[in-house]
Subunit: 242 residues, 4 copies
């Protein structure tokens, strides 16, 4: 069942240690087949060096395991809520990468301070409120998904334009069109957090970038007029082909 | 004598350089056979690349070397005190990992600031008082053990729930049911110290997490209702198996 | 066409991940053939592990691609402006290396704080002004080149003596006589930024080095009286050959 | 000539990149044959991957190259002064390792803040004064040696007990009985600087360790009553051999 997606989710999970954004088993990647209404996720607590594509667990949109001998990630219900509420995303990633966690623990968003940020995130990466006692004590993982969705709704943020969040007191979640892209975004988030940390220690000035810089960098890489990479129109950066 | 335990202790020692928490020979791991009243520990000052399982030294509960040609770790008496006073632990680890040492030098505990901490430590990781002149000048290593035990007793901390300490002006000790687990805890302690450092530089707000978050994350991984990983009840995270 | 230069530019691009100054595809190196008025640059958005020498794109001084199937780097027009305005340079490098970007985001120059800096940069590495809305919205990459050139002209800095700049809100550009040297300078810039960051956090004193130290270190490695390395006069450091 | 020493100096030089304390060619190690009054040093500006044992240059105590086709390290005269003035040392190392350089640039000594420091350095690692204009403009490298020696004499520090210094605005020099030991000390210095940096950012309290802790840790590893490692008396740490 879903062998190609399992392979894809497996490979994306294996990127986490390679990119240096995971310690031990503290991360998980899932990918969804929207037509079948099923998603594939890493099993809980299995070391990356022991992981095999066939270990991936298949879960339906009611949270039932429909294939796989192992327990799915303990964060499965958070992934499920994000798939339901962000209907265009194809993959979800959770890590405890150090720089991003530090901002989550401090309860601070990742403000847009430069083009490295703007190339991937079209505005600040928000931080959620802390979950309440009631939200933690019952359906904790599901409520983690809800606090993320609430944050995006309350602040009017488009989850496709800002494919990441910091859950306060916890850490980052990212998402994207496919598992590989969502993992790359998890790495970028951590790199941006590292840059922000140092920039914020260097100055107390207001160093947020203006909206027109966000527009420029985001639309250079996204949408109809994108010209970064090999699959886009070539006329926009001042370089012409003979 | 104790060949299986020697192998286990050897392998756990070799994890230290692999996990990046040791410089040169600045770390040691031991494991105990409670029935025989003997523990196995790394020899003193031997480079990790030269270490062999048969080099491990066997020591009894009176601090007598009962097998092994080499000197045991200079911290042997600290391990011995911890084994005596914390009767349920099966292994002890000492390192000079950079982030944890920085907090030990600053004389600050590792406050619980997020779920990364809460997954392993059920509350703050305490820092001891500095050893007195008398404690340092005579039976130094033994007194290092005593100041650890005193810290846990005075603050009413359960060493199984918080399997780590920072010895002021010195560095971290961790423990656990077996050598591998205790080494993993040594790595986690350093990662948590790194996250705490950056979070504390980012804000002056009170960012300690509430007790109910500690409860949730600790009992998600520990005890009868744990549901993280593959060896626990599966009914608790909202995911069900058909 | 320009096969030797393509190889050289390819190899210099491949140094970026090896030196740890690039994440994903966030960097590009070019080299110029001044006689032919053509430069060779990395294609846009191609992962380093997939890059081949023959993928390098040849561009003329009007910004026309004259050879190569792929889009050149989106930063091509910035490189072109630098080649035009700094007529003695042979190569240009752009990265998003973390330490240098942090200073660019904070809007701070890299002050000369020690000999590590002085060995490569004959004075502070300047930071540009932020680009205006108009400069960003039209001919953005070309204007990035212009703001760099303007910074050097306004501050009277010789681009051969200080072969690097921080573009505010963006990141570093470096240059040099050839691609390899320019990449080495990109690494040095990041190392110097790391050292400066920590030194500036340690003290609020004025720790800029005096001009005579800059003179000494710069001319030890550059110009007619240089005596560092194997290709210089040997009489100057107090050591004599029999 | 001095083939064994050349091999030893070569191997110690090759440890620098392996230990992560050198960028490009920014480091050099030498070792001395006291009987012959000759020392062996790395050639200037040669990349570590190209270095061979036979490239090492032999220099006499007047600064004459007596064997070797290449220029010796540009820092040769600094090494020579240290060999002359510190008559018991057998090797000298210079690096631009990042953490140590940051303290040198900030003009701050490395205060003894913990046992990691005390195991190697019997007290603070001093920082020199800045060299004067005259000292820099003539015989710069020799004067670098003199300012180091002056610092130790003025502050009454024994160079065997504190085998390291930070040259202000420049970086660290370390020394020891042989090249390998001196390189290990260069690594330890950088690790201690990293720990100090973070401890000093965490607190404004006075966290220097007392003299009796320095005594304990230093004499645990050095001198007649040392008991760390495999070559010392075994009776001192509370552990006994049957």
């Amino acid at each position: 069942m879903l062998e190609a997606l399992k392979q894809e989710v497996y490979e994306a999970n294996m990127m986490l240690p390679k990119l240096g954004i995971v310690t031990f088993t503290w991360g998980n990647v899932s990918g969804i087949d929207r037509k079948q209404g099923l998603f594939v996720i890493k099993p809980s607590g299995v070391p990356y060096e022991d992981l095999k594509p066939e270990d991936m667990v298949v879960v339906d949109m009611d949270g039932h395991v429909v294939e796989g001998d192992m327990n799915p990630s303990s964060d499965t219900m958070t992934h499920l809520v994000l798939y339901k509420e962000f209907p265009t995303i194809g993959a979800v990633v959770h890590t405890h990468s150090s720089w991003a966690v530090s901002f989550a623990e401090a309860g601070l968003p990742l403000e847009a301070l430069g083009t490295t940020h703007a190339d991937t995130f079209f505005g600040d990466v928000p931080v959620t409120e802390a979950l309440t006692k009631a939200e933690i004590e019952s359906d904790y993982e599901e409520n983690t998904g809800h606090v993320i969705v609430r944050t995006f709704k309350d602040q009017g943020i488009d989850p496709e334009a800002v494919p990441a969040v910091l859950v306060k007191q916890h850490g980052p979640f990212t998402w994207g069109p496919n598992p590989k892209k969502a993992v790359e975004t998890a790495k970028i988030l951590d790199v941006v957090a590292e840059m922000n940390y140092h920039a914020l220690q260097l100055t107390r000035g207001d160093i947020r970038v203006p909206q027109y810089l966000l527009d420029k960098h985001y639309y250079r890489k996204h949408g109809a007029n994108a010209y970064y990479g090999q699959n886009n129109a070539k006329s926009n950066s001042g370089v012409t082909h003979r």
